[in-house]
Symmetry: C2
Subunit: 145 residues, 2 copies
DNA sequence: GCCGTTACTCTCTTTTTGGTGCGTATAACA
DNA sequence: TGTTATACGCACCAAAAAGAGAGTAACGGC
């Protein structure tokens, strides 16, 4: 949550402009498949969470990052970071020292994705209570029936 | 993809306003945990895809929905729809006829989430090529090393 | 010469996820 | 009388994801 404000107004503005410019319907089903695929990768819990803390803190070392991403295991941290690096979302800088030192930070591409996710975080924060209420209601209904 | 334009300008505008109004940092760690949790639920592949087609088509019956959500199995469709219903994202209307007829549509809450995800879809469509390029580059580098 | 530090990797086990196929109710229809 | 249509629930199995824990390299400090 706290990372939201880190995304520049320009980035958000860009998103808005694009939202306006998007044509009524999308064309190529091939592309749609690819986009869905990409969405599947990127809309991953850990990816989103890492994106958030890196967006907020700027540059972090491996261990610190692991501490800040609540509940992530070392394995998942490494794995997700590799994936993100491959996709061009984070930059990994290795300092050849002992003990090892590796720094991670968002690339511009990663930052832009962070900005895009901005709205989802806001939504989650805003509608948390409503979702909770809906759940309670649903569960009660299920009981009586 | 194609559902983007279905979200009203007002919904998008609301998201913008909130983006602006959000305080620099978020407060309660308890709430942050809940938000992260909610993100985990909502940032699910099938949820997003269902959200998209329902956002685009409005109201759909079970079977038709299954056809439109590329690649989903019956089981996952039922499961995801139940989850979304519980969270108050979709409304389920049962017509007591034979053969059975059940309609699904987004609630206002679901529609607002769709609007929030809008930016992510746009991002994916826009940056698809860049991600692909990054991957090729990464894989080549890995080979030579 | 042993310890500590850091960023991992590797292996093993457990958990979760997802697919498949079968069953069911009921009325209209042929 | 038998078939079809619809929206599932259920049981079983395979595959994938994730967690736990041990191991490693390499050097500086004690």
């Amino acid at each position: 949550m706290s990372g939201i404000s880190r995304f520049t107004p320009e980035q958000i503005a860009t998103a808005k402009r694009h939202a306006k410019a998007t044509p009524p319907d999308d064309l190529d089903p091939r592309i749609e498949a690819l986009v869905n695929d990409l969405i599947g990768r990127v809309a991953d819990k850990w990816t989103m969470l890492i994106l958030e803390v890196l967006g907020e803190k700027g540059t972090l070392r491996f261990t610190r990052l692991g501490e800040l991403v609540e509940g992530i295991s070392q394995k998942m941290l490494t794995q997700t970071l590799r994936q993100m690096e491959r996709d061009g979302l984070v930059a990994r800088t290795v300092y050849p020292v002992v003990p090892p030192k590796v720094e991670y930070q968002l690339t511009p591409l990663g930052a832009s994705l962070g900005a895009a996710f901005c709205g989802v975080w806001i939504w989650a924060a805003e509608n948390l209570k409503q979702v909770e209420r809906a759940r309670v209601q649903f569960d009660e209904k299920a009981k009586t029936v």
